[in-house]
């Protein structure tokens, strides 16, 4: 299909982490938070097949990497809500050292969004003490403090390490715990998991598991609520994932009610921007869409944390007969973390219906 692979949306966050923590000195012409800078001793991604389960674990020689889970859920009364659990890794230098000396840093984000409330929490950790990390074997385990995304047991023969997971996190005034069970395969994004970002060749390795059925509970100030729904895990690592001049992203990960998954994004660069999308059929076959095939139109904005953000969108994909309105469940789903951004559940209505997650970064 298209030669243009999807752009990794979360690059902005990891980039910002790297920039804020000084991994690369931000300077003019090096792109947002320095992520357009040279790879400086880090490995560069190369096309090729993934090697699981090893690729579920950290790639120490790459500068940034993340394990990014979003879930759209509903309580017993049908009220919708969403949550995210993310672990970022950023390296100050390639490789690993013993104890505190290890140049690898970890950052965890957890969010929980209902129609009326939004909760967020953040954890930071050094590598090398055991406070945070990711182990792909024997059973997959990613953690920071008491937050965990982990397989309860080693995978069944022929299964993948990520097929069954449990995810848990806890903030000041919220907590959640879900069991995740994959109902479809892992999906390689871009050209076989090699995701080119710009004409000048920046790229990342990128795969997703968008087929989780999720079940568990969330703790809200009012008490514990049983929830069930769908979840989506993104995995990506890179050393130089951004092109210069990119201000931020609008990203959509949609679970359509017919079982189709749609990933769509628009990269804002002050001009026309750069967009792309992936159509993933219920069986897990993915099709990158050519740029321009999908039209994104902001319909309504809302003031969030002192900025104006579009919280209602129109998505049009004539080739697939898709014309939907995407509306934020809670327009105030602001993650007031070290690097702040908007991340929350959305409802899909129109030619197709469904649920999903919207992420908006780089709005000043």
């Amino acid at each position: 299909m298209s030669a243009r692979p999807p752009v990794p949306r979360r690059a902005v966050l990891a980039a910002a982490l790297a920039g804020a923590l000084g991994a690369a000195a931000p300077a003019a012409g090096q792109g947002f938070a320095g992520l357009g800078g040279p790879a400086g001793g880090f490995s560069l991604p190369a096309p090729g097949p993934f090697a699981f389960p090893a690729d579920h674990g950290p790639h120490w020689d790459f500068r940034v990497e993340w394990w990014y889970l979003t879930a759209v859920l509903a309580g017993p009364d049908g009220a919708g809500l969403g949550l995210q659990w993310t672990l970022f890794r950023t390296a100050l230098a390639p490789g690993r050292g013993a104890g505190w000396i290890s140049p690898q840093l970890w950052m965890g984000h957890a969010g929980l969004t209902t129609a009326g409330r939004h909760f967020g929490a953040e954890r930071l950790a050094r590598d090398g003490t055991g406070q945070a990390g990711v182990e792909p074997t024997p059973a997959f385990r990613a953690w920071i403090d008491d937050w965990e995304l982990a397989a309860p047991a080693p995978p069944a023969p022929g299964g993948d390490a990520l097929d069954r997971l449990a995810v848990a996190a806890r903030g000041q005034d919220f907590a959640f715990r879900l069991r995740l069970e994959a109902t479809g395969p892992i999906v390689a994004e871009g050209e076989g998991g090699y995701s080119v970002k710009s004409a000048t060749g920046q790229a990342s390795r990128y795969y997703s598991q968008p087929f989780y059925r999720a079940e568990g509970w969330v703790d809200l100030p009012a008490g514990r609520v049983a929830v069930a729904g769908l979840a989506w895990l993104d995995r990506e690592w890179s050393s130089q994932p951004l092109a210069p001049g990119q201000a931020g992203w609008d990203w959509f990960g949609l679970h359509l009610d017919d079982g189709t998954k749609l990933m769509a994004f628009r990269l804002r660069d002050g001009g026309a921007g750069y967009g792309g999308a992936t159509w993933i059929d219920p069986g897990g076959t993915s099709e990158p869409l050519p740029p321009g095939a999908l039209r994104l139109t902001a319909l309504a904005t809302e003031t969030v944390a002192g900025r104006s953000l579009p919280v209602r969108w129109r998505l049009e994909l004539p080739a697939r007969g898709l014309d939907v309105t995407v509306t934020a469940l809670n327009p105030q789903a602001w993650m007031a973390t070290l690097i702040p951004y908007w991340e929350g559940p959305v409802a899909v209505a129109g030619s197709h219906s469904g649920r999903g997650y919207l992420e908006m970064t780089g709005y000043e």
Partner: protein, 802 residues
């Protein structure tokens, strides 16, 4: 006409530059002292806030090892993995370039509580440079200079870090201290997630320490700042006396000019507005200069203030100073307000000035006599208020007493001086002496403000000087008593402590245990020490009050000793009973002084401590050995056991360090004292100059009767000295009263212990000489001018009788 008015006003200053200089100097000094003290206060407070935010030493609760002074890093990870938000800290001693001790503090910026490190990092290194070997280190300017070259990475200057402290990354500092995998403590974030497991189950080897000391610290430093503020205000008031004198003189001298302008048709309102505008301009210019000077004064005093607070309360203040906008605003506002207050009488007089000649001097003198009487009545009321407040508990009452006493005494002073002069007048013989005293009495009103200023300055000198000297004497003696042993040794664990004891026993005269447990005493946090029966204690321990045979009864395990703080808080006296944690009730056999310790303390026999609390730690020893042998023994011990720095402490070093801190401790107070006295001298000078001009009509008849100008000048000098001596005589009891209030009331209310008051007559004599010298210098100028006054001036008095 307005322009002519301006010209008349300005012309006066041009012809009398000395008066202008006096007014300006008065305002500049007053504003400078006020601003300087405010600046120190503001800076010190900002500094605590930053230091607390940087280290969270006192603000947040922490987890400490139950035994030993290091905890296993695994506890940190275990607690984090259980959901507890804790941040690791490793501390240890390092050495700077000049042998100065550095306190190395290693932190993890990623888990530090919010707001803590972002502050330092924003000014200093980036995080990457901070945590990546060789790392970056952060310290204040002086410490950074001392640490340069002694650490593997560059040291960056970050204002606000406590003096002597070098902050680095936890991993890098562990490496420097040879303490890989070890931490000193874990800081507990103030807000923890809900539903966490009990931390004691996760890390049973740790104990929690509350940030209780923080409240005490802020209360103690608050009292210090209150002291400084009071000082600043006193200095300001003294400075205003000068302004008052100068402005009063200017108004007096320009009466004729004013009258002429009025007669020529300048409206009264315009005249008053002109005069007020002139004052405002003066206030703004002199105020600005004063703020700048105050900044310099504060900058010079700042290191001493830092040392004072560090020495007194353990509060660290960085020595840096930044010129803040609020000082400009505050300083100028004070200058303007002060000028208007000082000039109020002059302006009022101007507004009411009749077009006809003013009242006769004698009427003025009678009016001023009534004023002196009213003042004395108000002053007496102030003294009564002071006595009442003295009887009340609390720090505020103590300060009210101090303020009321000083103000009351100042107001009473002119009345007392008048009475003293009247008394003298009854004793002396001869017309000249009689005139001298009567004339001095009449001049009192004009000099009264300057004399009050002198009184306050002298009393503050005596009071604060007595307090400082008493404190020094007591503290030194107490150090000698309390630090009786030559060596203090701490083992890393009990096994090592026992090995240390065994090694020391044949080499020392005695190895005494220093064992303690913490627990509530009389409902407040406290500590209980166990001691063995040894002459070291019997001979040296400073008991304030005791039952007969106190030591024997303590040794027998049937009684205990409490420190003064605990005795005062719990209202304990020898013979009372105190319940120890666990329920044992022992008789209080004595009360000992324990300066500088914020918590209550009790001492029982070591055996009794062990039977009451079998699990108490046994890691510290006090070693008695010939003083000359102590350093060698300390070195041998450290070598034999490879002890870390700080495990062996030489008493002589501790004492020297304590005394060195103390010698600087009250340097600020001493400097402010000197400043205040200087300002008082200037005030006296200003008043005498003012009077010199006004008194010519009164001196002219005496001169006409045959007293030479030289003799009149000598009499003027003698008058100043006599008044200074009288003020000194009044200042002595006032100063001692002030000292008593500070030692027995303010100190007890603020710190919980009372200092014995010692008297230092030699200091008074020196101060008296200084005061007389100041008076002589102040009076010399006007006297000399009188001696050289052309007789024509004196004759002219009769010619243009006002």
């Amino acid at each position: 006409m307005l322009r002519a008015g301006v010209a008349v006003l300005a012309g006066h200053w041009r012809r009398h530059p000395l008066q202008l200089a006096m007014a300006v100097v008065g305002l500049v000094l007053a504003t400078a002292l006020w601003t300087g003290v405010q600046a120190i206060n503001v800076e010190a407070r900002a500094s605590y806030a930053r230091a607390a935010a940087l280290l969270d030493q006192d603000r947040l609760a922490r987890l400490l090892p139950r035994a030993g002074d290091r905890l296993d890093e695994a506890d940190f990870v275990r607690l984090r993995r259980a959901g507890w938000l804790v941040a690791p800290v490793i501390e240890g001693a390092g050495e700077g370039a000049d042998g100065r001790r550095l306190h190395l503090v290693g932190i993890d910026p990623l888990t530090a509580p919010p707001g803590a490190l972002t502050l330092a990092l924003a000014e200093g290194a980036t995080l990457a440079a901070f945590i990546t070997p060789p790392g970056r280190f952060l310290a204040d300017a002086a410490t950074a200079a001392a640490a340069a070259g002694q650490l593997p990475g560059p040291v960056e200057v970050v204002a606000g870090i406590a003096p002597g402290v070098v902050i680095g990354d936890v991993g890098i500092v562990q490496n420097l201290l040879g303490a890989e995998g070890e931490l000193s403590r874990l800081i507990l974030w103030p807000d923890q997630p809900a539903g966490l497991p009990d931390w004691q189950e996760v890390a049973p080897d740790l104990r929690r320490e509350s940030p209780a000391a923080a409240g005490d610290l802020s209360r103690l430093t608050a009292s210090f700042h209150l002291n400084l503020t009071a000082f600043g205000f006193l200095a300001f008031v003294v400075g205003l006396f000068i302004v008052h004198a100068a402005v009063g003189l200017a108004f007096e001298a320009r009466r004729t000019g004013f009258r002429i302008m009025r007669a020529l048709g300048l409206p009264l309102a315009a005249l008053v507005a002109l005069a007020a505008g002139e004052l405002l301009l003066l206030a703004l210019l002199a105020g600005a200069a004063g703020v700048a000077l105050g900044y310099l004064v504060a900058g010079a005093l700042m290191p001493d203030v830092a040392a004072t607070l560090a020495g007194l309360y353990g509060a660290e203040v960085a020595g840096g100073l930044a010129l803040r906008a609020e000082w400009w605003a505050g300083g100028l506002a004070m200058a303007v307000a002060g000028t208007l207050v000082a000039a109020a009488a002059g302006l009022l007089g101007l507004a009411r000035m009749p077009a006809l000649p003013a009242a006769r001097p004698r009427a003025w003198a009678r009016a001023s006599g009534r004023r002196i009487g009213a003042q004395a009545a108000a002053g007496a009321a102030g003294v009564v208020l002071a006595l009442t407040a003295t009887a009340l508990p609390g720090l505020s009452a103590a300060f009210v007493a101090v303020a009321a006493l000083l103000l009351g005494a100042a107001l009473v002073l002119p009345g007392m001086l008048a009475a003293a002069l009247a008394l003298l007048a009854g004793v002396v013989r001869g017309p000249v002496a009689g005139w001298f005293l009567a004339d001095t009495r009449q001049g009192l009103s004009g000099l009264s403000l300057a004399l009050m200023a002198l009184l306050l300055a002298l009393a503050a000198n005596i009071g604060v000087g007595t307090m400082v000297a008493s404190f020094r004497l007591t503290f030194t003696a107490w150090l000698d008593q309390r630090l009786a042993s030559e060596l203090y040794v701490t083992g890393r664990d009990e096994a090592e402590a026992e090995a240390l004891r065994a090694w020391l026993a044949p080499r020392a005269a005695a190895v005494l245990p220093i064992w303690s447990v913490e627990g509530p005493l009389a409902g407040q946090p406290g500590e209980i020490y166990g001691v063995v029966d040894h002459s070291t204690y019997r001979r040296n321990w400073p008991l304030l009050a005791a039952l007969p045979d106190a030591w024997n009864r303590v040794a027998a395990g049937e009684a205990l000793l409490v420190n003064e703080q605990l005795a005062r808080r719990a209202g304990l006296a020898p013979g009372d009973r105190l319940e120890l944690p666990g329920g044992a009730r022992l008789e209080v056999a004595g009360v000992y002084s324990d300066y500088g310790n914020p918590v209550g303390q009790a001492i029982v026999a070591a055996a009794r401590l062990s039977s009451l609390y079998p699990r108490h730690e046994r890691r510290r020893w006090a070693v008695r050995v010939a003083a000359a042998d102590a350093p060698a023994l300390a070195r041998a011990l450290a070598r034999a056991f490879d002890l870390p720095a700080g495990a062996v402490v030489l008493q002589a070093e501790v004492k020297a360090a304590s005394l060195a801190i103390f010698e600087r401790t009250f340097a600020v107070t001493a400097a402010l004292n000197l400043f205040t006295l200087g300002v008082a001298a200037v005030a006296l000078f200003a008043s005498l100059v003012t009077l010199a001009g006004l008194r010519l009509p009164q001196l002219a008849p005496v001169w006409a009767l045959g007293l030479t100008r030289a003799r009149l000048a000598r009499l003027e000098l003698a008058r100043a000295l006599m008044l200074a001596a009288l003020v000194l005589a009044a200042a002595l009891p006032l100063g001692l009263g002030l000292a008593w209030l500070l030692l027995a009331r303010v100190n007890v209310a603020a710190f919980g212990w009372r200092l014995p008051m010692h008297l230092f007559p030699a200091d008074w004599a020196r101060l008296g000489l200084l005061a007389l010298l100041a008076a002589a210098i102040a009076a010399a100028g006007p006297a000399r001018r009188l001696a050289r006054r052309p007789p024509a001036d004196l004759l002219a008095v009769f010619a243009h009788e006002r």
